[in-house]
């Protein structure tokens, strides 16, 4: 079963994921412009884009545990998942600056003074070098340092979920669910691997 799924996945080209994954942003913009996002489209668009960013961050973080615990190999799609997540974070930030706050001085003031915005901004900044090095040339060039650098996505995902937790009013469960899922995906990585033993048996 797992074999057949993996075999099927191998035939799915990554460009298809890029296209399908990036389409919701222009679609949301269109919906916002035509009234389908309600009477306050700016906040709705901002929220939807932030949500897509979290979904793709979660999808990217799920690749390793899925391979280890479910035998599902999505490794080939991980770069695309990460880059699409960055694309949504970037769109989210752009909508916030251009459509929501509008005043550049106010943008800086908010980043400096409002902790939930500082945290969201920190997540974005952390993701910039990861997006820039998401190519084969950088992987070769950086060698083992590439893996270390890309562990920064763990922090970025936690900060992204914290950003959501901190901006809601009252006690709300939804952002806590996102934070919980991200922490669980990180926690799964801490489970020690079983020692590989008795490989030699084949020789006997």
């Amino acid at each position: 079963m797992g074999e057949r799924i993996n075999g099927g996945l191998r035939r799915v080209p990554t460009w298809a994921l890029y296209i399908l994954g990036m389409l919701p942003a222009p679609w949301l913009l269109w919906q916002g412009a035509t009234g389908a996002l309600g009477v306050e489209p700016i906040r709705a668009l901002e929220h939807e884009l932030g949500q897509w960013a979290l979904w793709f961050l979660i999808a990217g973080l799920a690749v390793t545990p899925l391979r280890r615990f479910a035998g599902l190999n999505l490794l080939k799609f991980r770069r695309a998942l990460g880059l699409i997540a960055f694309y949504y974070v970037f769109c989210h930030l752009l909508v916030w600056i251009v459509l929501d706050v509008q005043i550049l001085g106010q943008v800086w003031a908010d980043i400096a003074k409002r902790p939930y915005i500082t945290i969201g901004m920190a997540a974005f900044v952390l993701l910039i070098p990861l997006a820039l090095t998401s190519n084969n040339w950088s992987v070769r060039k950086l060698g083992p340092r590439w893996r270390t650098l890309h562990k920064a996505v763990y922090a970025a995902a936690v900060l992204g979920a914290m950003h959501f937790v901190m901006l809601v009013k009252g006690f709300q469960i939804e952002p806590l669910v996102y934070l919980g899922i991200i922490l669980a995906l990180l926690g799964l990585r801490m489970i020690p691997r079983k020692r590989r033993v008795a490989v030699r048996q084949t020789a006997g």
Partner: protein
């Protein structure tokens, strides 16, 4: 309807009311969910007939007053007010209603009364949001007696000459136009005259962010965002922000009530 004796400033010049659709599809009424469209989707579940309001505490004639009984005594008039949410968006709403002062006079306010406490209906089976501890239900609010007796303070029963829809707080709600929207408590079932400051829902949830007074004030930031500007609902994807006015533009009418108070302390 509105007579010359009523405060004309309330009907403010040049205010263009939002559309019925805008006013009735973008709501905060957490008893029906935290999404802006949740109230419009789920508030139909609330039964608003029959309805009665308990008026008790320091009043001469305490009791359960049916809505019909109350409306029989009151004169309904239209008031076009600015509405400013603490989340930094705003609308202009053509309310129909009567002055809270008239209702309080009907019940007879006693000498020792200094505050008015309000309570929203709580019916868990009709209000899906109350299954979650978003706030400590039921929703409660309060005003100082002079604020409650102020001629701008309205008990609204209609919008655009139609009954207030459930998502906007049917069948009867408070409107205090110089305070952030959450002070204007919806679907009221109890009004209690008290001697001491009553608890209020958002203040209980987070006292640092939400004070008892909650007067609209562009100079006092919410700890998480600025209150200097607001986005009027209805401008679409490219709506411009506009400056927020002190006391939401009702400074001339209400500022005197807060003379000598530090508004950043009593926020």
């Amino acid at each position: 309807l509105a007579t010359a004796a009523r405060p004309v400033a309330a009907a403010a010049e040049g205010l263009e009311p939002n559309s019925w659709e805008e006013i009735t599809t973008y709501n905060n009424y957490y008893e029906f969910g935290t999404g802006k469209s949740d109230p419009a989707s789920y508030a139909y579940m609330l039964t608003t007939q029959p309805w009665s309001v308990t008026i008790d505490g320091l009043v001469d004639r305490p009791g359960d007053y049916s809505l019909e009984q109350i409306l029989g005594e009151m004169t309904i008039e239209q008031r076009i007010y600015r509405f400013r949410c603490v989340e930094a968006w705003s609308m202009v709403i053509p309310w129909n209603g009567f002055e809270l002062a008239d209702l309080l006079e009907m019940a007879g306010v006693q000498d020792g009364a200094k505050y008015v406490a309000f309570e929203t209906v709580l019916r868990r089976e009709e209000m899906p949001g109350t299954r979650y501890p978003i706030l400590d239900w039921p929703y409660v609010e309060g005003l100082r007696l002079d604020e409650a007796m102020h001629p701008l303070t309205l008990m609204a029963t209609g919008i655009y000459d139609r009954p207030v829809p459930n998502q906007n707080g049917a069948p009867i709600r408070l409107v205090v136009p110089w305070k952030y929207g959450y002070k204007s408590i919806k679907s009221i079932v109890r009004i209690t005259l008290t001697e001491s400051e009553p608890p209020t829902s958002w203040n209980k949830a987070n006292a640092r962010e939400y004070g008892f007074y909650s007067n609209v004030n562009p100079e006092v930031s919410h700890p998480r965002w600025s209150q200097a500007t607001e986005r009027p609902i209805g401008g679409g994807l490219f709506a411009r922000r506009q400056p927020t006015l002190m006391f939401n533009g009702y400074q001339d009418e209400v500022a005197a009530m807060y003379d000598g108070m530090d508004l950043s302390v009593y926020h």
